[in-house]
Subunit: 333 residues, 2 copies
């Protein structure tokens, strides 16, 4: 059975409200009775009921974390960052996966559980639920992506710049026929990267042929299939750039299977700098995304919005990407 504040009151010979004050060190309470209460609480093994507390305080100290595809290790560090900061600031996190496009059900659950705010780890542009929340003034922070048309608080990376730098690097290495593996229409990150890619080509006076762009859906499989199509073209592209490392590795898989060599026959680039990309033999040139930091700053931002509501200029934190040059692009340091 649960030990409640009442039983402590009885044991210590005081009223429940005094116990509440003593344990929460609010208001005045004589240090002597304080002791008695503390002792009784310890003796009985008292554990405050956060539910009851949240109910009366109208604040749960809980934040909802929506992650699309939890099984995708890309999100591991994001979750870690969020968790660490949240814990430090006294918040617990309720984790849900965002498989559905609108996120209707997930958000509903979170709101019913009275979360104080929501962090969304990969909202699609089709997500109207987030839109509504924002309109109601409910604290929401987006990670990695924005919702076009709505100014929402978010922590993102400068995807366009990232893509520009990466593409530019390949161009400088002499590549003029670059295949591009696009992510997903509904993700602003994908569009931003593509924009950066095009810009780099344009600045170098290279015309982009439409058939050099394939969609990969952000998955390993998608990268594999996209590479299949791109490498069937003639003349073959001399380099492939994928919208994330996952797809780049999928492409790599295909390239290896048909016996081509990276980077001799096909150079390869990606985005994110997931752990795989660095290991011997893979050594993928990519753009590092500070995932842990993104999660951590997202949590900081959300908590700030929760605790200082109203004075809400929208904050959009833009992290700078970092080009990581490895063997797959053919560059010899």
């Amino acid at each position: 059975m649960q030990v409640t504040i009442k039983e402590i009151a009885a044991a210590a010979g005081v009223s429940p409200s005094t116990v509440s004050r003593a344990l929460g060190n609010k208001g005045y309470v004589k240090s002597e009775t304080m002791e008695r209460i503390r002792a009784a609480a310890a003796a009985l093994g008292y554990r405050p009921n956060a539910l009851a507390r949240s109910l009366v305080r109208r604040k749960s100290n809980t934040i909802g974390l929506i992650i699309p595809e939890i099984e995708n290790p890309f999100y591991s560090e994001i979750i870690s960052g969020v968790e660490r900061v949240a814990t430090k600031r006294g918040y617990s996190i309720i984790l849900v996966s965002g498989y559905s496009e609108t996120g209707e059900a997930e958000v509903k659950t979170l709101l019913e559980r009275q979360v104080d705010g929501i962090i969304h780890g990969g909202a699609y542009t089709t997500n109207t639920t987030i839109f509504r929340l924002k309109a109601e003034g409910f604290p929401v922070v987006l990670l990695g992506r924005r919702l076009p048309g709505v100014e929402t608080d978010c922590v993102i990376v400068n995807d366009r710049l990232a893509a520009y730098q990466l593409t530019n690097h390949f161009i400088k290495l002499g590549h003029r026929r670059l295949g591009y593996i696009f992510g997903k229409d509904e993700s602003t990150g994908s569009s931003e990267k593509f924009a950066g890619f095009r810009q780099a080509l344009a600045d170098a006076g290279i015309e982009l042929e439409p058939q050099l762009v394939e969609k990969g859906n952000l998955q390993f499989e998608g990268g594999y299939r996209a590479a299949q199509k791109l490498l069937a073209l003639s003349p073959r592209p001399t380099a492939l750039i994928a919208g994330n490392d996952f797809m780049a590795l999928g492409a790599r898989q295909y390239v290896c299977e048909i016996g081509l060599r990276i980077p001799a026959d096909v150079a390869l680039g990606g985005f994110d700098d997931i752990l795989w990309s660095s290991i011997q033999g893979v050594e993928l040139t990519t753009v590092a995304v500070p995932r842990y930091k993104m999660g951590a700053m997202g949590a900081e931002l959300l908590i700030k919005k929760i605790e200082k509501p109203g004075q809400g200029e929208v904050e959009q934190i833009v992290l700078e990407p970092k080009l990581i040059i490895r063997r797959s692009c053919g560059y010899q340091g």
Copy 2:
């Protein structure tokens, strides 16, 4: 402002309790008033307050998930499995990381939040908190490891068998001088695997030299350093087996760096079959651990314990490992 059951009652011209019954379809309620209430609720945008509900029901429909090192992608799929099942069964999950050895603080938070049960994704043998919980009859399910001395509900893999099969495979390929990279003392999984390793050697009449065993702490770095030491021995071991793929990849990194070839100069084996292990060029021979399934079954088991308490024979679900033979062991299919 929150829309409560009272406001619906007022809008529909009934009492709060009637609304409660209508929305929860308990007890009798005329279908006509039912309609009125439903309509009012929808019109006002009613959202039940799970906190209040949990308080009175004395059940939160929430489970705590403790994961050591969330940023370790090994746990991604476990989390995914737990999340999926929990959601389907109407439970939310509160995620905490288990950095501290005893897990004292994490568990305290979870209990205060009134979780109905706890899933622990990697309890160390030093964890006395879990021990206490179990003693109190609180629903707890362990994943991947057991606590020696206490019979707890858990979902594990047959680590000993896994190690036996893997080692045996190497022995059959002709290796007699095997280096072993041990995980972590506090993890029963590590000890079990080591036991399987030794057994395989013994059955083959190979004596185990102590210096052929190094500790790797389950991390990439640890694997790297262990390989450093093991490969400095002379004669050099012809094969290395690591307690998990992470360490195996660390070892691989070192092997590559000093210019040795896998498997020609050194064969390599691991455990877990994480995604990396399968990619071209790595192709690590390993033993697959069904992580998603482990999480999913763990959640099923815990919910079962929560909903049918008392009739508690301890259930220990043992999943069978699966040997995955790839290039790194030198076997030519």
